[in-house]
């Protein structure tokens, strides 16, 4: 979303941004194959097996669904073990920049995040405790300056 990558880098990086986060393209394909490949056959297989028993028809479908859901969860656990996250997480760190990018992206979608000083007392205390106050104030300043310049 931020840097348009030059074509030359495509040989090195396998990272893609999908649905708001970075993934490795091979790991993504394998995870989807695992999820669909485990979930769908387990669902269909369970329906087929239950079809040969005298379990009530309405319940057969439900049990098969639960089995399919369980299979997807197992697929998630396997995929999470095999493939680690491709994101950098900074917890409570005072880093400018990462949040500015996020804020720009959010403002592009929903409009201004607004001036934190206009928040009611409880929400103001909340953004201060979260360490968001300075970032929100800086974002608001940048925005008003940009609008003033335009």
């Amino acid at each position: 979303m931020t840097q348009p990558p030059p074509a030359a880098t495509t040989t090195e990086s396998r990272l893609l941004e999908v649905w708001g986060d970075t993934v490795d393209q091979r790991h993504l394909v394998l995870s989807i194959v695992l999820g669909v490949g485990l979930g769908a056959p387990v669902f269909l297989g369970t329906s087929w097996l239950l079809g040969m028993t005298d379990v009530a028809e309405g319940l057969q479908r439900s049990y098969a669904l639960l089995a399919g859901i369980a299979a997807c969860l197992i697929a998630a656990v396997i995929a999470a073990r095999l493939f680690g996250p491709k994101r950098t997480v900074e917890i409570g760190a005072e880093t400018a920049g990462s949040r500015q990018e996020a804020m720009d992206a959010i403002e592009a979608e929903i409009g201004p995040l607004g001036d934190p000083d206009e928040l009611p007392a409880r929400l103001l205390a909340e953004v201060r405790a979260l360490g968001l106050y300075d970032d929100l104030a800086a974002q608001h300043r940048r925005r008003t300056e940009a609008e003033g310049a335009a």
Binding site: S13, L16, V18, V36, L38, I69, I106, G114, A129
Partner: protein
């Protein structure tokens, strides 16, 4: 059955319902109708006393709509069908680094709305029954007006409004086509397609070389998870301290309004209440956090009211929730029955007194809240940090792709899967090209299902 025995059945079954569906709420994409209806049916067929069945169901829906906010806010994928309208706001708050705040706002709203909805629904059951036909008659036109309004006030403005026309026509065509093949109309697959449109479009683009080149990144994305903050005092979290005064008041207001309109779809009401009560808040942070509380509150209040009002007043499943997840409470032969020809019922409507619906409904909701809320509140930050450090996005997408496949196959085989993918691609593209967000698309679905037939009836 003496009073002590009634309380024992209610409390015991509420505990079971809250535990089972509190856990199931954590699993993304577990549609309410697909999971709550069959398990409630099982409980009925096992011979549980009526008051126990009722408490089980009420605790199940309340608990699920608390814990469904956990995957929705922390992982960015919808916990169930009713969580889908919260997804976009939750994802934005996650990008801001405050997924735990999104979660706390959502579930605090849920608690307030759930506790308000029980007495309000009992009251409305008594007042509103004579008018339910009139409400149903104007519904198609209300949805048309609401869809247009939400489109125009969205970021896409007039483009989103214009784009509604082809989108609605696509839904009509897909719905008619799939109904002709399957014999029954699809709905879960449409919701899944709309909610996951941006994901489906991204995956489609990632399979083409040009799309891949545009999505290529050199470095992993950086997330800044904000510091943990306890915004309540004392050991037990208090929803009234987590929300500010206006957020709590709007959540309560939305709960009252959405309890009254028990004939409307819960998904549509969730979108509508969010827009009506928080759509015009200027400050972005305040709007997003208010949206979480109001929308999740509406997921609780619609479910509770749409179950209680038809159960108490009518005895027939005359609301979307009663026709879906709550259907076994009305009709579970041979235990509970509806004789359509004679117009008689023998179900919870006949087996429980109105005061029992109020007292045991409230009891079940409180059991569910006490079991799920404190845990989710206090563990929100730890869970968010663990997930962001340990659980890869690939694993989440892979499992979710599997769930979409399983749930669509369950609803209508390969036809349903095709519908979800086509709706997802179209919705995802409209989202990107004309900024038509999923809330507008959900309303588009209801225009296709309710308004279009009404228009055709007028013309024909």
């Amino acid at each position: 059955m003496d009073i002590l025995e009634l309380f024992a059945w209610a409390a015991g079954m509420a505990l079971v319902g809250a535990i089972v569906f509190g856990l199931l709420g954590l699993v993304s994409g577990t549609d309410e109708t697909a999971t709550i209806a069959p398990i409630t049916l099982l409980v009925i067929l096992l011979g549980v006393a009526p008051v126990g069945v009722f408490a089980f169901f009420m605790a199940a829906i309340s608990a699920k709509h608390i814990t469904h906010a956990i995957p929705t806010t922390l992982l960015g994928i919808p916990g169930d069908t009713l969580a889908a309208p919260l997804l976009r706001d939750a994802q934005l708050l996650r990008e801001l680094g405050v997924p735990h705040i999104a979660l706390r706002k959502a579930i605090s709203g849920g608690v307030i709305a759930a506790i308000i909805a029980v007495p309000v629904a009992v009251l409305f059951a008594w007042i509103l029954t004579p008018f339910s036909d009139a409400i149903g008659a104007v519904a198609p036109w209300l949805f048309l007006a609401a869809a247009a309004l939400i489109a125009v006030v969205s970021k896409g403005r007039w483009r989103a409004l214009v784009a509604l026309v082809p989108f609605v026509l696509l839904i009509v065509a897909l719905r008619d086509g799939s109904t002709a093949i399957l014999g029954t109309p699809l709905s879960i697959s449409f919701f899944l397609g709309i909610a996951t449109g941006p994901l489906i479009l991204d995956l489609f683009l990632a399979s083409t070389p040009r799309g891949r080149a545009r999505m290529r990144r050199d470095a992993p994305r950086v997330f800044e998870l904000a510091a943990d903050s306890r915004t309540w005092s004392g050991r037990m979290p208090n929803p009234l301290q987590v929300l500010d005064g206006r957020q709590a008041a709007s959540t309560a207001g939305a709960a009252v309004v959405s309890s009254a309109t028990f004939v409307f779809s819960p998904v549509a009401m969730t979108v509508l209440m969010g827009e009506a009560f928080a759509g015009r808040i200027k400050n972005g942070y305040r709007r997003l956090t208010s949206m979480m509380a109001i929308k999740n509150g509406t997921t609780e209040s619609t479910y509770i009211a749409e179950t209680l009002i038809p159960l108490i007043a009518i005895g027939l499943p005359l609301s979307p929730t009663a026709a879906g997840p709550a259907n076994p409470l009305f009709n579970a032969p041979p235990v509970y029955t509806i004789d359509a020809e004679a117009g008689t019922t023998n179900n919870l409507h006949d087996m429980l007194e109105p005061w029992q619906f109020l007292v045991f409904g409230l009891l079940a909701v409180i059991v569910a809240v006490l079991l799920t809320y404190p845990f989710a509140m206090t563990q929100a930050h730890r869970a968010a940090s663990w997930i962001m450090r340990k659980v890869s996005h690939e694993a989440v997408i892979g499992a979710f792709a599997g769930l979409i496949a399983v749930i669509c196959l369950y609803e209508g085989g390969l036809v349903a899967l095709g519908v979800a993918i086509v709706v997802g691609l179209a919705g995802g593209a409209l989202n990107r090209l004309v900024k038509m967000h999923t809330g507008v698309q959900f309303m588009g679905f209801y225009v296709a299902v309710l308004t279009v037939p009404a228009v055709l009836a007028l013309l024909g």
